[in-house]
């Protein structure tokens, strides 16, 4: 089966044990209860949340042991703690048809000492089909520890963004707790205020100026960069090439096309399989001396295959500065090219972020390249 047909199957939601078909009455209630919102965004998500609540209710009702869901019939469900079962305060969160990889949770559901959520329930609402699927759950104590380890980003609107993979409770686990656990067991962890939330903490950067001094900094080492010897464009062509020789061969070709790289340039390379992608990435840097303006530095990048392999068509190389995409190059099926290469120039305080997207669509973003004195 090809990759694309795999993808297309992943786009489908087959009916499962956790899929609930909403009754007409449930849908009608959901439509009516969200009417008081005027703002289209709030109204829409209120509608989905109301569908989710009734979906959760029907799912709980499917069991033999009664688990009555308590929620307000008159007021629209809010995005925080919005229903209760057996003494558990639940924050029911909606996943729409986007299938987002980050789930937004209002901060107060963790912080409020009187009205925090014991459990978070993630429900996928399939509005078109009047269906709700119970996807996963998250325990309060687990969320607290995620937060304390600094792994949660706090958005501008005061929401935590919890990655989908951290929702580690299965629907069966949720039932186990609701049936057999005392909610007090989840009430630990009031230390919310002691550790500040990580607000998109700065990424480590890699200083390529060290390369000119024949050094690799710790970030470069951590990300498997290997320093190449100074350029010597006179090597003999051999059948088995070292990475340095491969690069030099390529540079000779480029030179014939009019691109010159000064002999002072220093480079490094890394095998991308360390990061889960095929291919090898070369980076060369040098100081631009002939600039009429402030001093500048240059970064040359070359993405190629590992020896004996070839890069699959569709592979992309992307370079961004702090505000926008500078270069986006893709390997074209028809072009017959084996490499993707590009060059960018910036002032000393600028940095460049390099991303690679494999032919299968897996993105990889490397720590930004900087040139500090």
């Amino acid at each position: 089966m090809t990759y694309s047909s795999q993808c297309q199957l992943l786009d489908l939601d087959p009916d499962q044990g956790t899929t609930v078909h909403l009754t007409t009455g449930a849908v009608n209630w959901a439509v009516e209860v969200c009417q008081e919102h005027i703002d289209t965004d709030h109204q829409w998500f209120c509608f989905l949340r109301a569908m989710a609540i009734r979906g959760l209710q029907q799912w709980l009702d499917q069991g033999a042991e009664a688990l009555p869901l308590d929620y307000s019939r008159e007021t629209p469900p809010n995005p925080g703690v919005n229903c209760q079962v057996n003494g558990f305060r639940l924050c029911l969160v909606v996943q729409g048809s986007l299938s987002d990889g980050l789930i937004s949770i209002p901060r107060y559901t963790l912080k409020d000492p009187l009205n925090f959520a014991h459990l978070y329930v993630l429900a996928e609402v399939q509005e078109e089909a009047d269906q709700v699927k119970i996807l996963a759950g998250l325990r309060r104590d687990r969320l607290v520890s995620l937060k304390e380890s600094g792994n949660l980003a706090l958005s501008r609107k005061g929401h935590y963004h919890v990655p989908l993979e951290d929702w580690d409770l299965s629907p069966e686990d949720l039932l186990l707790y609701l049936h057999c656990l005392n909610p007090e067991k989840l009430e630990t962890g009031h230390s919310e205020n002691s550790v500040p939330a990580r607000c998109l903490c700065p990424q480590p950067t890699l200083n390529v100026r060290d390369w000119l001094r024949d050094q690799l900094d710790t970030v470069a080492q951590r990300f498997h960069w290997t320093l190449l010897p100074p350029l010597a464009l006179s090597h003999q062509l051999m059948s088995v090439q070292t990475p340095a020789e491969e690069l030099e061969t390529l540079l000779r070709d480029l030179e014939q096309q009019g691109m010159t790289i000064p002999e002072t340039a220093r480079g490094a390379y890394q095998e991308l399989h360390h990061q889960g992608l095929p291919g090898r990435l070369y980076a060369l840097t040098w100081k631009v001396f002939d600039s009429h303006y402030s001093p500048e530095w240059s970064l040359f990048l070359c993405l190629g295959p590992r020896p004996g392999e070839s890069l699959a068509p569709g592979t992309e190389l992307i370079v961004q500065d702090e505000t926008s995409v500078l270069v986006r190059q893709g390997l074209n099926e028809d072009s017959g090219e084996a490499y993707l290469y590009t060059q960018v120039i910036g002032s000393f305080n600028e940095q460049f972020t390099v991303s690679i997207i494999s032919s299968e669509g897996t993105p990889l973003t490397l720590p930004p390249f900087t040139f500090h004195t």
């Binding site: 694309s4 939601d13 044990g17 033999a64 729409g96 325990r139 186990l176 057999c180």
Partner: protein, 453 residues
């Protein structure tokens, strides 16, 4: 080219509903004269021939209609393959047949100038050789086909439409997806945000109005009027194209997230629970903290409590089904008997209890939930008895450990309990070993069935 015949053999439907290959001799002859190298060179890329054929057709050169028909032939094979993939994956469980899918999408009769617009032509007209391979584009549009999606939904397989995805995406999500996943520029993001807002103002409003009037079902393509309202300054065709592009970017991200979270989006088939009869003992590795002595105490306690717990769960389930409009209590009991005592598969059971597909039986019996409910009832009963403590004080980790222990004990094979009942149930499996859970379940089902008769 290995599959050169794709370009002159049309995959089409006979009136009987069977698919059939129809050789288009005029296309074959023309291709052999016009593109001999493409057909003979084994390494000649499909993309190149497709580009040449596209040019010939789009530039209205001589034989444009033959070029078009040739591409339609190629597309017909891809449509067929797409449907085949769906049936291979879901056919058995969801009662999906290749024929009913093909009827909806394989509608090209292979005329040189078709009297109506078949899907293959629609695919071809919207195809841009610079953006994707024709095969990928075809599969994408086939999966996007509203009729196909309706058939799938009827069988219990839902696929979100472009419009549902656009409805359910807020500005914050869109910005994040475009910036971090698609690496779009600020300019592109600003444009997309404003497009989405224009769309949602109109489409969500109308959708909620329709829902208020009791309408349901899949979201339809925005009407001419809606598109005009979204952006009066641009032609509706352009707005539609922009929206579809945005939706495809979001869908790409959606599939990426789903493939990265198989636990949530590709759960294992529930098949294993459909054939519990005679299965292997559970995983003892998970029970390190349970000494053999302790397990003995559990087994003894189970002897006293398991039958009661099963009877309780069965009674509640039957009562609920009896109160429903389409009384299914009898079918439920019969289904349980056939599956758990007779060892029949869900597919075999379906026709015997008036259902059409395996997945309907799985839903009705919901064995996973049944088992879980019994276990949870047992936990409450056993914990107090074994520890002299109230369940209220049980720590989370202990709760999970007990649940696992119970599951393993329920899966343990027993042979003594069934010896006596073998004659009564005339069970096909009665002479073999059977799991503790199945044995107790069959004991409970037997008198209930007699009650129905």
């Amino acid at each position: 080219m290995d599959n050169a015949f794709y370009y002159w053999q049309l995959m089409r439907l006979r009136s009987s509903g069977q698919s059939q290959i129809q050789v288009k001799l005029e296309v074959q002859t023309w291709l052999q004269e016009r593109f001999p190298t493409a057909l003979l060179d084994p390494d000649y890329p499909d993309s190149q021939l497709q580009r040449q054929l596209c040019n010939c057709w789009r530039n209205q050169k001589q034989d444009a209609d033959l070029a078009q028909l040739s591409l339609r032939c190629f597309i017909s094979h891809q449509i067929h393959q797409s449907c085949l993939n769906l049936v291979q994956r879901y056919g058995d469980r969801y009662g999906l047949s290749l024929q009913e899918l093909l009827t909806v999408v394989l509608d090209d009769e292979g005329r040189r100038s078709p009297v109506y617009r078949p899907l293959s032509l629609e695919i071809l007209e919207s195809y841009d050789p610079d953006r994707s391979a024709l095969s990928t584009w075809t599969r994408q549009l086939t999966h996007n086909h509203p009729g196909l999606n309706c058939v799938l939904l009827d069988k219990g397989i839902y696929r979100a439409s472009d419009w549902a995805i656009l409805n359910d995406t807020n500005a914050e999500q869109l910005e994040r997806v475009l910036r971090n996943y698609h690496l779009c520029s600020d300019h592109e993001i600003t444009q997309a945000l404003s497009l989405l807002e224009q769309y949602q103002q109109v489409y969500r409003r109308d959708r909620l109005l329709q829902r208020r009037l009791g309408q349901q079902g899949r979201c339809q393509t925005p009407s001419e009027e809606q598109l005009q309202q979204m952006n009066p300054t641009v032609s509706s065709g352009v707005v539609l194209k922009q929206l579809k592009h945005l939706a495809s970017q979001l869908r790409e991200y959606r599939v990426h997230v789903r493939s990265g979270n198989p636990r949530l989006y590709q759960p294992r088939d529930e098949q294993e629970l459909e054939t519990l009869v005679g299965q292997q003992p559970g995983d003892w590795g998970t029970m390190e903290d349970e000494s053999e002595r302790f397990l003995q105490v559990y087994r003894q306690a189970l002897k006293d409590t398991l039958a009661g717990a099963i009877a309780q769960v069965l009674k509640t389930n039957l009562d609920k089904l009896r109160r429903r409009q389409n009384r299914r209590d009898c079918a439920y009991l019969e289904g349980l008997h056939l599956s758990q005592c007779q060892g029949l598969s869900m597919t075999e059971i379906a026709p015997k209890i008036g259902l059409t597909s395996q997945v309907q039986v799985t839903r009705l019996l919901n064995l996973k939930r049944l088992r879980l409910e019994v276990r949870h009832l047992l936990i409450a009963k056993l914990y107090q008895r074994l520890t002299q403590e109230a369940l209220n004080y049980i720590p989370i980790e202990r709760l999970h450990a007990i649940d696992k222990t119970l599951e393993t004990l329920l899966t343990e094979l027993v042979d003594d309990m069934m010896a006596e009942s073998a004659a009564q149930t005339q069970s096909a499996k009665s002479c073999q070993q059977i799991s503790r859970f199945n044995a107790a379940l069959c004991h409970a089902i037997c008198p209930l069935r007699q009650g129905f008769e």
